[in-house]
């Protein structure tokens, strides 16, 4: 399977696809970015930018707890802890009178601080440093396989969940009157974002993962006029910046994740300018 894909990629007339690690990175980008493109539409619509940021921080604690307990692999503990963390924030948000900002802020700071504290225990922080910046060039074919599985799962869940999620994002009372449980829908969505953050954090990096959950949809909103366009533009912008960023990073010898984010930001500003011209 991988051999066939490698063969196809080698046939493409690009220098940068000469190396296997670049082929892997390209495949990973092509799998990760549509995920971010899809999820970011509702992260932005639900005003959850800060929430998804704190998920990354929570993932950090999960990683540290996993390493200390030694029962789970890093990916397992990341997944488990991120989901628990996401559901906990959602639950507390719906059962507390404090503002959402404040609650997420508290969780976010606890997440990162507890994670750093445990990781730095015994001076062993350096081996976790890659989680901060991410390293997409080190991804293996097996891990690409699991990304593909996650992409399919997220795609299917999105097909089932999206209508309800959209209604909840417009107005929770209205959703309730149509028999939609906003707690359930928000919980599933939060868990989905948590899964995507957890599995991609080691490739993208904690510091910039949130930008990928915000920028694609933020750019798409500037120009979209319907839900379909919103999704199309968001996914397209995520994939375009993913591939462009990866190639630029290869030629200029920079961190791939950061370059991808900068390209997304450029797209965002371009669409903003387009919106201004359209509305004139």
């Amino acid at each position: 399977m991988m051999e066939t894909i490698y063969g196809i990629l080698s046939a493409l007339p690009f220098d940068w696809l000469h190396y296997d690690f670049m082929k892997n990175a390209l495949l990973a980008v092509l799998l990760i970015t549509p995920l971010f493109g899809l999820l970011s539409t509702m992260v932005v619509s639900n005003r959850m930018a800060f929430f998804s940021d704190s998920l990354g921080h929570g993932a950090f604690t999960g990683l540290a707890i996993g390493a200390i307990l030694g029962i789970f692999s890093p990916v397992q503990s990341l997944l488990l802890f991120s989901i628990v963390f996401a559901l906990l924030i959602t639950w507390i948000k719906n059962h507390s009178t404090a503002s959402t900002d404040t609650i997420i802020g508290v969780f976010s700071s606890v997440g990162i601080a507890a994670g750093l504290m445990m990781m730095s225990y015994g001076g062993s922080f350096n081996k976790y440093a890659s989680y901060l910046i991410g390293d997409i060039l080190s991804i293996t074919p097996e891990e690409i396989g699991s990304l593909a599985v996650v992409l399919v799962l997220v795609f299917v869940t999105w097909g089932i969940l999206f209508n309800r999620l959209m209604i909840v994002s417009i107005n929770a009372s209205f959703a309730r009157s149509r028999g939609i449980s906003s707690t359930l829908v928000e919980g599933v969505f939060a868990a989905m974002v948590a899964v995507v953050v957890a599995i991609s954090i080691q490739w993208v990096g904690l510091l910039i993962i949130n930008s990928l959950l915000v920028l694609p949809a933020a750019a798409a909103r500037n120009v979209a006029a319907s839900v379909k366009q919103y999704h199309l533009f968001s996914v397209a912008s995520a994939m375009l910046s993913g591939v462009t960023g990866l190639v630029a990073a290869y030629y200029c010898n920079m961190a791939a994740g950061a370059t991808i984010v900068v390209v997304s930001a450029v797209i965002f500003f371009l669409t903003m300018a387009m919106k201004k011209r359209l509305s004139k």
Binding site: W158, M166, N171, A225, V227
Partner: protein, 310 residues
Amino acid sequence: MLRKLFHHASSQSDCTKLCCTRIESFGVRAGNLVIFEDVNIHVHCGQLTAIIGPNGAGKSTLLRAILGEVPHTGQLKYTDAKGKHTGSPVIGYVPQYLKFDVSAPITVQDLFAACLSNRPVWLLPVNNRQRILESLRRVKAAELIDRTLGALSGGELQRVLVALALNPMPDLLLLDEPVSGVDQNGLEIFYEILEDLQNNEDMAIILVSHDLNMVARHADQVVLMNKGVVCSGSPEEVFRDRRTRKIFGMLAGDGTRDRGTGFEWLPHRKKSVGEGCSCDCDCGSISKSDAGFGSGDGNIYDVGQEGDGR
């Protein structure tokens, strides 16, 4: 017309032949703060019940409690047209659109399609555009189908939400009217739609309204709320009650003349001379008004002319 008569006749009898909804001793608290308590309201199909009251009286919260969104005490009892207690009625809800997030790129069609089916609107083309158009036509909004929510005026969005609340056709329609944002024209159309529903559909309507003039013209029953039911009855009874005048003292001073003439424009309204509204809402107060002692006394609404001398 027949249906209308039928409905009104039913008001006088007990809930045995026609659908009715009883809200029994509803109360909501936020911590130690009582939002409202001991609210009893009884609504019938084909009737428009208006809830009025000052800001913070608990009106919108009452609607959300009926929806089951806010934890509350008390019970909602629904009896359908066959006289069976069916538990929960189908509820349509039109929230204050001002609290809607309309910044997302969502068209009216997207919203409808998402509400009416499970086909993912982001992926597949809609397959029920005709049905959506028909629903919109009923609220005079068919031309809005391809607009984004953010491009709608307040009145237009309100009508789109009414159309949505009518799919599926509810037994109980809850409307939360915003204080501002709908122009006079939009308001007229909105009440025309309500009248159409009152006359042609088998549903009870509960409307939270701030427009006393419109309430006086269109409601069958008025409930004045202020952390509980202050009084209820026919519009005539409630508006001539001195507690209403006290709560809306300012308003009455400003808009009295309009309101007074407002009633006189409407020969079809039954008028009654009562003793003011009743403190405890029950079926009795409605029956009394519906019995309709024709008095022809238009002056009873001229709240402000008497002044608030008490």
